[in-house]
Amino acid sequence: MRKKEFIYGLIFISPLLIGLVVFTAWPLIYGISLSFYESRGMLPPRFVGFQNYIELFQRGLTATIFYNGFYYAILAVPIGLALGLGLALLLNNNFKTSGLFRTMIYLPSVVPTVAMVMVFLLLFSPTGGIIDIITRALGLGSPGWLGDPNLAKLTYVIWAQWGVGGSTLIFLGGLQNIPRSYYEAAMIDGAGSIRRFFSITLPLLTPTIFLNFLFAVIGGLQLFTQAFIAPGPANSTTTPVVDIYQQAFSYFKFGFASAESIILFLLILGISIIIWITQKRWVIYEQ
């Protein structure tokens, strides 16, 4: 039976194995090899060794582009997690109206990114957008948002919070998994609501926070759609993926773009490993 199950197991996972070889392993190896070649239009590519990588690191723009990517991930991810958790705490009760509020907060997160960008381009328009009307009414003046190189990245961070309902929903699932008896025991011991949050809720949510954090950082570093459709002035919002896309498909520098994409991969791999290792210090798994 054991041997039969092993063979059947292999048969069942065979679509994945084929897929991983054809659509992941092969492209990855091919991509690495591409990064050592120079694309020359109609001519066959020429082997240039580490030339693309050297060029990438010598280019002044590279630092700006990776800074833009990190700026977004470092700001948008923690803010998103804190907001998501805060809203989940606000919604985690048995009041009848909670369902309605939950729906209203969750739904923007399912709006397709392109549609979201279109909506926010108008909303944040410095000429008559509703945000402009509000900031002027509050005496905050008329910020240029995407038109202002100092504000453009921050604008994406603000836009991203509209989609915070997705993590709110995941946190709600996590909250509902915490046994009520823990809170009852803590209340008998005289723990107040703040103490209960820090001693029960937060520690037991750390696995949820951890996975949300990991996925959000990986996703945040790959920001594309907003930065591509609605870029800020000069290169103030060019993210690594936008630059890779443009190098490959606008300037046809496939080798250079591949090198940049390999660096992005190594960065994400490194950061993921660091997050994964440090989780042991702060993530609490119930046994």
Partner: protein, 283 residues
């Protein structure tokens, strides 16, 4: 005590009304902007001022103003065909990773899962573009659909695997004693029991493809083949004959694009809360 509870509830209510109106405001202004004519929008962009009344016919006129039907068709085609592939193949693979017992199974699963989340999409897209180019697949939807049939994504496999693990193994063993083969057990016993996972995976995949922007942007170069996501953006990027961007129509198109996911996800929120539970899932 009772009074204190009442106050708490009122404060809670006010806080949530304030928060949720912030979330709903963009949808409301989009809707109001969608009711203007383009010239009315440029005369007064404030969404709350409808100087010329509500032009409900914008929601119909869009079909002649932009190639909306065709783009809708391509979006639906891409979303449906990739969803079928993802559901078929991720459930099949998940069965091999949960019901079947073989040495190293769980380790291999998590290596695949971890690795696939850490490779940026673009790192694979550049070489895949060259590979699909050599297949002659550029300007077709094949690069976006065919890979879905080979594994269907580790995260979807993960969701099915979590579900299959909750189903008592005795069901499978009883069926085996009755002489059922593994494919029969998978198809007739396990898959019907995993209906919630089936719903969550197919809905996420469908609307993921529905909103996918980068995929079609890279592989589809003929603008007669664009799906809605790329079409809307081109509509914005390329102003109409009078040289202005027809914002009200773009808002109409955005609403049409968003309404499907909004309705479906509103209906399945509770299943998502239960189905996408990460707590203690890494074991």
């Amino acid at each position: 005590m009772n009074n204190k509870k009442k106050y708490k509830k009122i404060i809670w209510l006010i806080a949530l009304i304030a928060v949720s109106s912030v979330f709903v405001l963009p949808l409301l202004t989009t809707f109001l902007d969608a009711l203007k004519t383009t010239s009315e929008y440029y005369l007064n962009p404030n969404p709350f001022i409808l100087s010329g009344g509500a032009h409900w016919d914008n929601f119909i006129k869009i079909f002649s103003e932009m190639p909306f039907f065709r783009e809708l068709g391509y979006s639906t085609l891409y979303a449906s065909l990739s969803t079928i592939g993802v559901v078929l193949s991720s459930s099949l693979v998940a069965y091999g990773f949960s019901v079947m017992r073989w040495p190293g199974r769980d380790k291999l699963f998590f290596i695949f899962l971890a690795f696939s989340t850490m490779i940026p999409g673009i790192t694979l897209t550049l070489p895949l573009y060259q590979i699909f180019k050599s297949f002659g697949w550029l300007n077709t939807y094949l690069p976006l659909i065919v890979p879905a049939y080979f594994g269907g994504g580790m995260f979807n496999i993960f969701i099915f695997r979590q579900f299959f693990r909750q189903i008592p193994i005795s069901y499978v063993e009883a069926a085996r004693l009755d002489g059922a083969n593994e494919f029969y057990i998978f198809y007739r016993i396990m898959l019907p029991l995993a209906r919630p996972a089936l719903a969550v995976v197919s809905i996420f995949q469908f609307f993921g493809a529905w909103g996918d922007y980068m995929g079609p942007l890279i592989y589809i170069t003929d603008n007669h083949l664009y799906p809605l996501s790329v079409g809307i953006q081109m509509f914005e990027a390329v102003p109409n004959t009078s040289g202005v961007t027809p914002w009200p129509y773009i808002m109409v198109a955005s609403l049409y694009m968003a309404i499907g996911p909004i309705i479906v996800f509103a209906l399945i929120q509770k299943q998502i809360i239960q189905g996408l539970n990460f707590q203690g899932s890494i074991t």
